[in-house]
Symmetry: C2
Subunit: 208 residues, 2 copies
């Protein structure tokens, strides 16, 4: 597929079929992942590719609990009052579906990043793992596989790390379900470019 066709139609697909993903397809996705950049090319990343049914089921349970925690956060509690037909309401319904069915996706990938001893993660720690996560989602979309990026497993981080044997000095960054889509790919709903792209100084819309 053409790059721009992939990049402009990669939307969050949260309703996924349970059909398995062929090994060769998964390897192609992961090969794209590791071509992403990381700070100083240190490649401190690790990707736990979970296909084992019992482990997925347990991750699904933990994710369901995490979803419950998220709904207590004021912003999301407010969003849950959105009309079901509104964009926010539809997204919430889709996210709620994932909250209940995460464990049924045929592949769950936990993207992790090693921390230097004694150093706490910051926003820029993410610069060494989220580009690879984006490559996973783009490569999946190029191969007709749906995905989305989630981070709320952090509400149950200790349990997730214990389940998968992740060392203490490794930070979990994202949980990404992969599966053939029940919904359709397509351009995602976004704010217009002039609202978010500025020319030379804050607030001055990029001409276009």
């Amino acid at each position: 597929m053409d790059f721009f066709d992939v990049a402009t139609t990669q939307r969050a697909i949260r309703r996924l079929k349970a059909d398995p993903i062929p090994d060769a397809t998964l390897r192609q996705i992961m090969d794209a992942a590791i071509c992403a950049p990381s700070g100083g090319n240190r490649q401190g990343w690790s990707f736990l590719v979970v296909r084992d049914a019992a482990k997925r089921k347990r991750l699904g349970e933990l994710y369901r609990e995490a979803w419950g925690e998220l709904m207590k956060v004021p912003y999301y509690a407010g969003a849950s009052q959105a009309p079901p037909d509104s964009p926010a309401g539809k997204m919430l319904a889709s996210a709620r579906h994932l909250g209940e069915h995460m464990g049924e996706a045929p592949v769950l990938i936990l993207a992790c990043i090693a921390l230097d001893p004694g150093v706490k993660p910051t926003i820029t720690t993410g610069a060494s793992i989220y580009p690879a996560v984006q490559n996973i989602m783009l490569a999946a979309r190029a191969l007709g596989i749906g995905s989305c990026i989630t981070t709320i497993h952090k509400f149950r981080d200790a349990q997730v790390k214990e389940l998968l044997g992740i060392p203490a000095d490794v930070e979990t960054a994202a949980l990404i379900p992969l599966g053939y889509p029940l919904g359709k790919f397509g351009r995602p709903p976004r704010r217009p470019l002039p609202e978010v792209a500025f020319a030379d100084r804050w607030g001055q819309a990029l001409a276009g």
Copy 2:
């Protein structure tokens, strides 16, 4: 270009020509950027696209100072002892070149993310901005434009924010130079997949 050809040959290009980038090309890159996901589709991102010569020059000066700060960090100070012909030595020479010439790239993009009032950024804050940064770099590569992700402007964050008029509650996440490459695209040097992709539990190499 085919998606996988783009994703597997997008390497850090730190030596860039000063030739300008056409407006339409830049808009196509930025359109790919905003198709990336963000948490809850909140799109709290802003992208400062700097082409003004005086602002680029000043950003280049600040980046040079930041490079000097980075070289005091033990890991990088150690890396600077690597033989010039080794992979680490070559990367350092390339990064040093960028340290001295950042301001000469025809376009500098500062990727930013809004913070909730009173909330400090964490690693997962990055999940809402670095996927868009990766889309910028992939789209640039698809159009024959070199780029790389840098974060060391944070050593001079206050000055960068003042120069561009960035509000206090907005976090800068990455500074990305764009320009036609002096070097070549190609598969980046990476650890083999079985070292970093695990099946079902930590340390168990993904069969491949």
